[in-house]
């Protein structure tokens, strides 16, 4: 007979210790959705800009037939520019607002949750600081670029359809427009541009803002901007050089891939630019930047561990 004392309650497996999924993907997925619930400007901003642009385009499109009259065809370069400009502007406008939204999102990301004390709620859940940091970083590095691509594609498609309809209604052929536009190759170039410049090259900028957002006890925007500015000024005054300023400037300028696309003084997604992915991947600036980005994000996760409401 087994004595009663041997059958301790502790020896029985408690139902509470049932196994649960250890997959880190699930909390990450839900944390990203959480970010989108909170920050709807991520898609509303680009959508609004696209709508405004489209509205403006309605006033422009009626002039389109005049660009295709034979007298204009005499100067193909000028004709091409006139036809393409709205499409380039459309892409640039959406990308510009996406970049700004990304920056604003990052500087608020970890500060807002401390300001409204909700960090105490988020920290009461089994979601690690690293997961939270990754979910917040994926907004400017994944979600915003994807939204940007999707909206640009939709916007340009609508513009193209509208233009074609106007041309057909005027008894003109849309072939010149379609041929000049190179719609799908230029779309591919847009994707490439967003991935190389807006994701890979700008990653340390976003990561730096996230870090400051997690660290600063007040006015994170000033903390993010003033120290680099001060370093630049200091260098200028003491050494008379501006290496630091040039370093920061090169980061914002978009890096090596941006140089190749800066043709004829503007964004040119349709000019048959030569992509140089090899050159881009070999540039030390890319890898140094990514290293910095990873370091910033890791530090942000460490800092959030210690942070309380402000």
């Amino acid at each position: 007979m087994i004595p009663q004392s041997n059958a301790t309650p502790e020896s029985a497996a408690s139902p509470r210790t049932a196994p649960f999924t250890n997959s880190p993907v699930r909390p990450l997925y839900w944390s990203i959705r959480r970010e989108l619930w909170e920050t709807r400007s991520v898609y509303i901003g680009p959508l609004a800009v696209a709508s405004v642009f489209l509205f403006g385009f309605l006033f422009y499109v009626h002039k389109l037939p005049s660009y295709l009259y034979p007298e204009m065809a005499a100067d193909p370069a000028k004709q091409r520019d006139l036809l393409l400009q709205p499409f380039d502007f459309a892409a640039a406008a959406v990308m510009g607002i996406a970049f700004i939204i990304g920056l604003l999102y990052c500087i608020e990301a970890f500060y807002a949750e401390r300001r409204d004390r909700s960090i105490l709620f988020w920290k009461s859940l089994p979601v690690s600081d690293l997961t939270v940091v990754l979910s917040k970083a994926s907004i400017p590095l994944l979600v915003v670029p994807a939204v940007c691509c999707g909206i640009t594609f939709a916007l340009q498609s609508i513009m193209l359809v509208l233009s074609s309809l106007v041309l057909l209604a005027n008894g003109l052929s849309a072939a010149t427009l379609w041929n000049t536009l190179n719609f799908f190759p230029s779309l591919f170039y847009l994707l490439y541009h967003i991935f190389t410049v807006h994701v890979l090259w700008y990653a340390p900028i976003y990561a730096w803002l996230l870090l400051i957002s997690a660290w600063a006890r007040r006015v994170p925007l000033l903390w993010a901007v003033l120290p680099p500015l001060a370093i630049g000024m200091f260098e200028r005054l003491v050494f008379g050089t501006s290496h630091f300023g040039a370093f920061i400037g090169s980061r914002f300028s978009g890096g090596p891939e941006m140089d190749t696309s800066r043709m004829e003084g503007g964004f040119a997604f349709h000019h048959g630019v030569h992509l140089t992915p090899g050159h881009f991947l070999m540039s030390p600036g890319l890898w140094v930047g990514l290293l910095f980005a990873a370091g910033f994000l890791f530090t942000a996760a460490r800092i959030r561990r210690y942070r309380e409401p402000v």
Binding site: R16, F20, R26, S124, P126, S128, Y306
Partner: protein, 300 residues
């Protein structure tokens, strides 16, 4: 296994000692009231237990180190830190979805059934709810998590009496099952007197009293002394003395009740009275503003 075990727990903020070497053991299945004046170290102690701040000394929560194993610990521990920490933009339905997504022990159906008893609508955002409703929502979320330790830091601050009563009622009736542990801090001590199984008084970072409620009733006695026998009763060494409606009430620690009975009526002190007496009697504390009404508290 103890739910919370601390040995020499210390925490200092620059020059300020928030926790001054706390030794503590809280068994599972208890409802512990952590009571202390403002700045006594309650929240610091809870933050250490929840792995929110680093600390010195030894601390195990459910057998884990809360600072180094926080992510794992949070599957078994849940807390409501203060009121109104739910983000204002969050919709009720989103809160349910998110918790179901990230928390392995969240039971969404349970949370829905708690919410069904309230006026809270799924489509509402937190900012649209009253303070009481936000607390109801938070409590519904927390109670639907099958946690082994629930920590409540001033969960009913700023709520009206009805909400406060309802809060503790549902905690006791719908949540507490005798195996979970609940640690609660509050200034409204009288209201949780009947909820608690254990009482911890903390002052200036030290534990002043650590007792179960049963022990407390045996240990402390309050004597409403007859005026003519005041001097004789005082000779028995009360730990505190106060006046109420012209009568003197003496509080005794481990006194012979039969002897006391000769001098007047004996009753069990309320937690609030005991708190006042012990806080002012604790040697490290000359007197805090809250306890000055006690004549013996003024040691100068």
């Amino acid at each position: 296994m103890a739910c919370i075990e601390a040995r020499g727990l210390r925490k200092t903020f620059s020059s300020n000692v928030a926790l001054d070497g706390i030794d503590l053991r809280i068994e599972e299945g208890r409802i512990v009231g952590l009571i202390g004046p403002n700045g006594a170290g309650k929240t610091t102690a809870l933050n250490a237990v929840l792995g929110l701040i680093p600390y010195e000394g030894e601390l195990r929560v459910l057998g884990r180190n809360p600072w180094t194993e926080r992510d794992l610990l949070m599957r078994d521990v849940c807390f409501m830190a203060d009121v109104a920490v739910l983000p204002r933009w969050l919709r009720v339905s989103q809160a349910l979805e998110y918790l179901a997504g990230v928390h392995p022990r969240f039971d969404r159906a349970k949370a829905e059934s708690f919410l069904a008893k309230t006026d809270i609508k799924h489509k509402s955002r937190v900012r649209e709810l009253s303070k009481g409703m936000v607390t109801q929502l938070h409590l519904a979320l927390v109670m639907a998590i099958d946690a082994r330790l629930l920590v409540l830091d001033e969960p009913t601050l700023g709520l009206d009496l009805l909400f406060r009563k309802q809060f503790y009622d549902s905690l006791l009736n719908d949540y507490f099952d005798g195996t979970r542990t609940i640690v609660v801090t509050t200034h409204q001590v009288e209201e949780i007197q009947n909820v608690l199984t254990d009482l911890l008084f903390i002052n200036r970072g030290r534990i002043v009293l650590n007792s179960s409620m049963d022990e407390l009733e045996l240990r402390y006695a309050e004597l409403v002394v007859r005026p003519e026998q005041l001097a004789a009763a005082r000779a028995l060494g009360p730990i505190s003395e106060r006046q109420l409606f012209g009568r003197t009430i003496l509080l005794f620690d481990r006194a012979d009740r039969q002897k006391l009975a000769a001098f007047g009526d004996i009753r069990t002190p309320s937690i609030a009275d005991l708190f006042v007496a012990l806080m002012s009697a604790s040697p490290s504390s000359p007197s805090t503003p809250e306890t000055q009404r006690n004549p013996q508290g003024v040691s100068r």
